[in-house]
Symmetry: C2
Subunit: 236 residues, 2 copies
Amino acid sequence: MTGRVPGQLCGIGVGPGDPELLTLKGLRLLQAAPVVAYPAPETGASFARGIVAQWLDRGQREIAIRFPMRPGPPPAAIYDEAAAQLAAVLDLGDDVAFLCQGDPLFYGSFAGIYTRLAQRYPVSVVPGVTSLTACAAAAGLPLAQRDTAISVIPATLAEEVLTRRLAESDVAAIIKISRHFAKLCRVLDRLGLLRSAIYIERATLPNQRIAPLSEIDPAEVPYFAMALICRGEISG
Amino acid sequence: MTGRVPGQLCGIGVGPGDPELLTLKGLRLLQAAPVVAYPAPETGASFARGIVAQWLDRGQREIAIRFPMRPGPPPAAIYDEAAAQLAAVLDLGDDVAFLCQGDPLFYGSFAGIYTRLAQRYPVSVVPGVTSLTACAAAAGLPLAQRDTAISVIPATLAEEVLTRRLAESDVAAIIKISRHFAKLCRVLDRLGLLRSAIYIERATLPNQRIAPLSEIDPAEVPYFAMALICRGEISG
């Protein structure tokens, strides 16, 4: 140990994709940090970095944390290694801004970093706009009012669990549907919900797409897609 | 009808309370609109307006939509009257920015405006940071990863419905708890969840408060409070 005051780690939600959905706080802390880290695929560009690329012109050092784009949870070793890499920067006294698409603690990769470093370093989180409300805004679909409960349900769940959860929901946002599209359609059809499901792909991006779920070609469902199901009527 | 091109209505999520959690897009559209509307109590200041007060210095016309601060849904007449008032502005060709605390379609008052005007005028929505992720960020609590489902549950629900919904949840955010605090504690206690519930009040504001729910005095629970319950461990 050097006796130096350690740097601070800040997880910054950069929003669902539209660069303008970055918050003022996110922008300020992003620009103030000498080191910027972000999740990235094993090869190619980071989506989170791309959202704020126009602000990364100040000579910050960049650290890409490479995650395998395979189904299933990333190996713990990736988080261990990333945490060690960031810890080395923090030990030198430098602040790190960790960019997260959407919100850092809402189905993001930041939680694995957070849990490894929050005991040893000052770690803070700047919440961001999630895909949940971005999709609702894109589709013009009031999500919930008053006594309505909202469920966010990963389509990765087993078919019977997915069925039970959807059967119980007033309003449901189904995430991670890409490889699970056929299963999801079966479940919705069985529950009589297939015709009311709205599909939103790449919300807030220029190639955003909104359509009834029943019209979607399963072969063309990307990672950034969601289905929204609102039962009952929306009133004032 | 005047034959004029009608103005556009934009619902802008201004975030949970910290003025810096406004998005860049929200700021741009707020400043561009000649008319700014917002929900307000029958007497006193609007919370949504207060969040962005520093940006309201450009001589915009302001319209406060006054809602009764009674339990239960506001009368439809309030929405009817507000929609008529905004329609009159839009008919003159002026754009209106409607400010919403948090996100416009996530338990907000904008839905009632939206459903009345979206068929007749161009209406768009700028999503905002919700209290859900703001509370998680404040508490340093990873909400969900991978196959975890998240439930947002109003404490206004009947005791047996609340019990069933909470029993089924992996991760739950309980909103609107103020007058329903005692009922919520009974339900959580029965489910063995009382000790793991985290209470967050006025997230992101200077007087933010975070504590175990079991330590909270029911007499001091304001409207802007939430309880988060995360079962199981968070891992990487």
